[in-house]
Symmetry: C2
Subunit: 281 residues, 2 copies
């Protein structure tokens, strides 16, 4: 294979020149492929869709973690749903105040292959605060007796093995599993192409029915369809902009490549057409 | 032709399914192609690069115009360099206080073809305040005796017929042709892929040597390489964020689809890696 091609829509394609195929396998859950490429370094594809690559994964993983921690620097117990590549975990283990991180990943093989082929993402799996659970995330949250300060839904799309992570009942279960100051972050699709825009709207409507604070924020992620990607910030008591602890970001103690204090606030400033779609009936 | 393909880099391709070829011609300056597509509507390509399309042109054209007008609502005399498709002009003629708009476009045929095939972009050409000049923009600015409150450089890339719009001497000439409160806006390439990132850095360095205020701002433009596109805001006396006239935006008197008060401020909040590249030696 010379080129990895992804249909952003039926009528828009994105293609990446491949240096080599590192690994391919079909698990009971999905097709997993790892490639090396000329422009993006190594990357992981699940069921034919690029999930993460070495060139711009820092944007996604910084933006799915640091905004929540900058609103509540006292987060101790975190649950990650999905995130088998380890990038989200790598960012979280930088926070010394976090005491436990549970990772619930459906497909054991994603984690194992990330450890082998994506060492720059998977470095956090050996942290002693981390517990791994290989099972369905929606069932896990439904059944858990624990309370978390932060739940991060680092999922694939609403169509596929992780569709259960976009339902109303899942968001209810997350609400129940969060502490009084709990925050739910989820990857929230994109506003530009119709398929993702519809998914964005549906997720927002469902989350807004459950959480008193429900906002959407954005980042420039060039290799995701349209490059305009969204995250959901839902909370029982924190407005993500008003409650930003700016001084805390300046004392983080580690460097970021995308995230900063101004980006935090700016990421919640949505284009008018995105706001209108989110507010539409 | 079934698909229009654009090499974002040697190793990253972007492809759009074509409904029909509307027009193709080679002028003395460049290859001009107009297509109709399934996902993006009609679009214009110059020398094989997509310049503007009906689906997301509103983002580029709102963002190259409204920030400057929201910092100085008293702008009367405007010069557009390039912009032959008419999108920038269409936004400017919405401001009743603007008295004259001069458009300097190298290629007469771009304007004529836009009038024929892109009526939603080219509606501003008939405005009585508009004067057209079909010549090289760099020479025009060098020779002009007039003073402008705003110069917008709505150009193609630094390689090609409009390379002269990215030189130090061009920015000097713009400075001279601007009033004491003058603003220079230019399309400023992108920070993500190396070619555009280098061009971004070079343009910023050159503009910063000439103008006391030189900032870079960004927008989500999904069909430009990486989807993360930049504009330069240079001025003799206005900081674009501090001097924002927020109340003015609320009284614009017309609707925008991308631009709003929060987007104005947010667009100047750059990711850390972009700031570092701009500040690097």
């Amino acid at each position: 294979m010379d080129w990895f091609k992804e249909a952003w829509t039926e009528n828009i394609h994105f293609a990446v020149k491949i240096k080599s195929v590192l690994h391919s396998e079909k698990t009971s859950i999905q097709q997993i492929d790892l490639y090396d490429s000329f422009e993006l370094g190594r990357f992981l594809a699940l069921d034919g869709l690029m999930i993460t690559n070495e060139k711009d994964e820092f944007i996604y993983h910084e933006m799915i973690t640091h905004p929540a921690l900058s609103v509540n620097p006292y987060i101790k117990h975190v649950l990650i749903i999905g995130g088998g590549d380890g990038g989200t975990l790598r960012e979280l283990v930088k926070y010394p105040k976090i005491e436990t991180i549970e990772v619930v990943e459906l497909d054991y093989r994603v984690v194992e292959l990330s450890k082998t082929y994506l060492p720059s993402l998977s470095s956090g799996f050996i942290d002693p605060r981390v517990s791994m659970f290989y099972q369905d995330g929606a069932s896990f949250v439904k059944d858990t007796e624990r309370k978390y300060d932060l739940i991060i839904v680092d999922s694939t799309d609403p169509i596929g093995p992780e569709a259960g992570l976009f339902t109303q009942s899942f968001y209810h279960d997350c609400f129940r599993a969060l502490t009084e100051s709990g925050i739910l972050i989820n990857q929230h699709e994109s506003p530009y192409f119709e398929k993702e825009s519809k998914e964005m709207k549906e997720a927002h409507d469902r989350i807004s029915k459950v959480f008193p604070f429900s906002k959407v924020y954005q980042a420039f992620i060039p290799t995701y369809p349209s490059g305009h990607w969204l995250f959901g910030f839902a909370s029982k008591k924190f407005d993500p902009v008003i409650e930003l602890k700016s001084s805390y970001i300046e004392r983080l103690g580690f460097e970021t490549k995308y995230y900063n204090k101004e980006i935090h606030v700016a990421s919640f400033a949505l284009p008018t057409y995105v706001k209108k779609r989110l507010m539409s009936k």
